[in-house]
Amino acid sequence: MTVVAVPAAAANLPVPAADLTPIVLPTGAPVPGPTPGRPRRGTATIGALLLVTADAMVLAALVATYLAIKSGSSAWPPVGVRVSTYPPTMISITAIMSAFSVQWAVYSTRRQDSRNAAIAMILTLFLGAAMANLEWLSFTRTGFGVRAHPYGTLYYLLIGYHLVHLVLAVIMGLVLAFRTMAGHFSNDRHDPLRAGAVVWQYGNVVWFVVLTTLFLLSRHG
């Protein structure tokens, strides 16, 4: 790159500037300009962080509505409503396991160990599917519908919000698992995998927020 294509002055410049034809330094040498910006390392991870920030605000709206309606209700959950605490307990344990397994995948990739990375990714996907299964189970055993009462609506919305994330994260994880096995990631170049881990860990954060809101702050059993 020796020729620098910076503008010739237009006739109608508001500033009657000097002749701008060649953009050169006072020495007469062409401008030694920088190269145009391209994605640096960590771009996908930063994108994922911003995305989950936005996503957390959706969750915040749901939780705020839950708390506002709860604070104005005399009985919460409504009289006669009993939900099993077995699925949330198991989901919590599974979520903690998946938090470690997804980090295992990143750790192995960083150490150029693609075999362990692939095993970790598959384990993570398995744990994700297990959580989705438990959530579906908890949906089928509630005994109330979406429209029964605000508690029921928000029960389905909050757990469903995590379920939707789980499904999307499992699809994302599948792609990342295949890419891991195809050798797309190396010790110094695995930004998409790290971004995927951020999204996965965010999913776990969502679960514990949901758990706190729905179960820990309400009386059950």
């Binding site: 790159m1 020729v3 620098v4 294509a5 910076v6 503008p7 010739a8 002055a9 237009a10 109608n12 410049l13 508001p14 500033v15 009657p16 500037a17 000097a18 002749d19 701008l20 953009i23 050169v24 006072p26 401008v31 030694p32 300009g33 920088p34 190269t35 145009p36 910006g37 391209r38 994605p39 640096r40 960590g42 771009t43 930063i46 994108g47 911003l50 995305l51 920030t53 936005a54 957390a56 605000m57 959706v58 969750l59 915040a60 709206a61 749901l62 705020a64 509505t65 506002a68 309606i69 979406v146 429209r147 009462h149 605000p150 029921g152 609506t153 919305l157 797309h184 170049r189 998409p192």
Partner: protein, 579 residues
């Protein structure tokens, strides 16, 4: 070509592995946009195009409303139709014009301004556009499905489902959720582009003010719009599946009707400011460019833009009628945010004053002031000033438990809609030549500014007068002994003048840009100061062949100053390029 010889092997690898189709393309020939086009300038231009279509539709709706309100006891449209027009006019203006016009200009211009070869996630960007189109189509289709009359804030009838049958509102709600989703995705894209793809030497402090304002506005949208998405989600479940989150105690099913307005305005109030912030950033750059000098203080302008972004979250309660105890807090919040905006205006005025002092015969400045983008920027000033003044009064009145009267409408039409729209048109005049290679007509611009700014001022003053007379905004008609006739006539006259101006603008865009009859822009038609002017218009798919050295927020101005220094012996010192 997207690959220069200065790139390392590793970067080439990165393009091969992570690039995929679309943006790692070796040739300058991009596919047509409907077939996998991912170029940020294509997609951005499409956003702007769609926005302008909705601007025309929204304006047409407003003109029908004004026809109804021009005289007392008019019967142009029925009350039901009027309520629908009222809703769709607001929705189109906010969600389908102001939002996409900034998303489009931002995503098209920001990568150029920060010296990036592309936007951070090109395919995500293309997807956001198509999500937006689907959402916008659903919103536009809503009144055709069934009656939609809730105001753009989706007020009372929708949550309570009173008298609203049919799926129209559901279309509206889901469409708006998709529109918000698209806006969040574009904002993430723009933010990551600014944070990660800046050219070497362009530190965050040196990011040009329009890009900076998109950074601030994008951050506000990332925090505020998801609240709306969550709220829309719950509203949809309420309406479509018969839940009762917002539907009140009336049915004894335990919902809370007070939550809806709080949730909505918690997201929508910062969102409205996020639509004004890019206008402030764009005008900051336009003022500096046509003054032919640096802005009075780039750092302070950046700081106050950031302050507007943060304070945008302080006043949301001023729009909610049921927050009696918290009222003083939100009054302060709604007032405090006006200070940084006023400071920014002072920054612009100081820039012009300095430019005036520095040029002995003032010819350069005078020529700069007469050019189309600067005319629009100057036209924004009275509207913004009127909006700020009116906002002080309505802030003091914030959260009062009374009906919304026309004072608030006037203030919003000046501050959020008027100033932001005029700023957007200024930006289109300024950066349109860069994106599309042709300039808009200078002659028509003078008429357009006169009509649109004059019309806006007349409309807003009329609305403020109606506010003093305490006319409520939702009224579809009034009696002749209410005494609201003259002011309503003024509002209608202003709207009609604005409509004419808009017609001129659309004709201008069609002839100059679409039919390519405008003046050739050349790489730098305005004596620009930032990097986007250092590449041909329209820019090549890889944006830049080379960049000048970046040592400040205005690298091209530095370059011109440096050259003027060397040319000093033979040529007169250029006036604008002061040291």
């Amino acid at each position: 070509m997207a690959v220069t010889d200065t790139e390392t092997e590793a970067e080439l690898d990165a393009t091969a592995v992570e690039g995929g189709s679309g943006h790692g393309r070796p040739a300058d020939v991009l596919p047509p946009v409907w077939a996998n086009g991912t170029d940020h300038k294509y997609i951005g231009s499409l956003f702007v195009f769609v926005a302008l279509v909705f601007l025309v539709v929204g304006a047409a709706l407003a003109l029908v409303m004004r026809a109804q309100l021009t005289s007392a006891d008019a019967d142009v449209v029925g009350a039901r139709t009027y309520a629908q027009l009222f809703t769709m006019h607001g929705t189109f203006s906010v969600f389908l014009f102001l939002l996409p016009v900034w998303l489009g200009l931002g995503s098209a211009i920001v990568p150029l301004q920060v010296g990036a070869a592309r936007i951070a996630f090109p395919r995500l960007h293309a997807m956001s556009f198509w999500v937006f189109v689907i959402g916008g189509a659903m919103v536009a289709a809503a009144p055709a499905v069934s009656d939609v009359f809730s105001g753009w804030a989706l007020g009372s009838p929708i949550p309570e489902k009173l008298g609203v049958r049919g799926n129209g509102p559901d279309f509206l709600i889901l469409g708006l959720a998709l529109v918000c989703l698209a806006a969040v995705l574009v904002s993430v894209n723009i933010l990551v582009t600014i944070l990660q793809l800046r050219a070497p030497g362009l530190t965050l402090r040196r990011v040009p003010l329009f890009s900076w304002s998109m950074l601030v506005s994008g951050a506000v949208m990332i925090l505020a719009l998801p609240i709306l998405i969550g709220a829309f989600l719950m509203l949809f479940v309420d309406r479509h599946y018969g839940a009762s989150l917002f539907s009140g105690y009336t049915g004894g099913r335990g919902g809370n009707p007070l939550v809806w307005p709080r949730l909505f305005w918690f997201g929508a109030y910062p969102f409205l400011w996020a639509l004004l912030i890019p206008a402030l950033g764009a005008v900051s750059q336009i003022v500096a460019t046509f003054a032919g000098r640096r802005l009075f203080s780039h750092d302070r302008a950046a700081a106050v833009l950031g302050a507007v972004g943060i304070l945008a979250f302080a006043g949301w309660g001023s729009e909610v009628r049921t927050l009696e105890r918290a009222r003083p807090m939100f009054i302060v919040g709604a007032l405090v945010i006006l200070a940084p905006v006023a400071l920014l205006v002072l920054n612009w005025l100081a820039t012009l004053r300095l430019a005036d002092k520095e040029s002995p015969d003032r010819s350069g400045l005078r020529r700069g002031l007469g050019q189309a983008p600067m005319l629009w920027a100057l036209g924004m000033l009275p509207v913004l000033a009127l909006g700020l003044a009116a906002a002080v009064v309505s802030a003091l009145d914030a959260g009062r438990d009374a009906h919304t009267n026309y004072w608030q409408a006037g203030q919003q039409h000046a501050l959020y809609f008027g100033a932001a729209t005029i700023g957007a048109v200024a930006a289109i005049n300024f950066w349109g030549p860069k994106l599309w290679g042709r300039r808009l007509s200078e002659t028509l611009a003078k008429l357009e500014v006169l009509a649109i700014v004059g019309g806006t001022l007349l409309t807003v003053l009329g609305m403020l007068a109606l506010g003093v007379q305490d006319m409520a905004t939702h009224l579809p008609t009034y009696a002749s002994d209410d005494g609201w006739g003259p002011a309503n006539l003024a509002v209608t006259a202003g709207a009609a003048v604005m409509g004419l101006g808009l017609l001129l603008l659309v004709a201008d865009l069609l002839v100059s840009i679409v039919l390519q009859k405008g003046l050739q822009a050349g790489p730098d038609p305005w004596g620009g100061q930032t990097l986007e002017w250092a590449t041909p218009s329209p820019p090549p798919p890889h944006n830049f062949d080379a960049l000048p050295e970046i040592r400040s927020a205005t690298p091209l101005l530095d370059l011109r100053t440096a050259q003027a220094g060397t040319a000093q012996s033979s040529v007169d010192q250029p006036q604008g390029a002061a040291r």
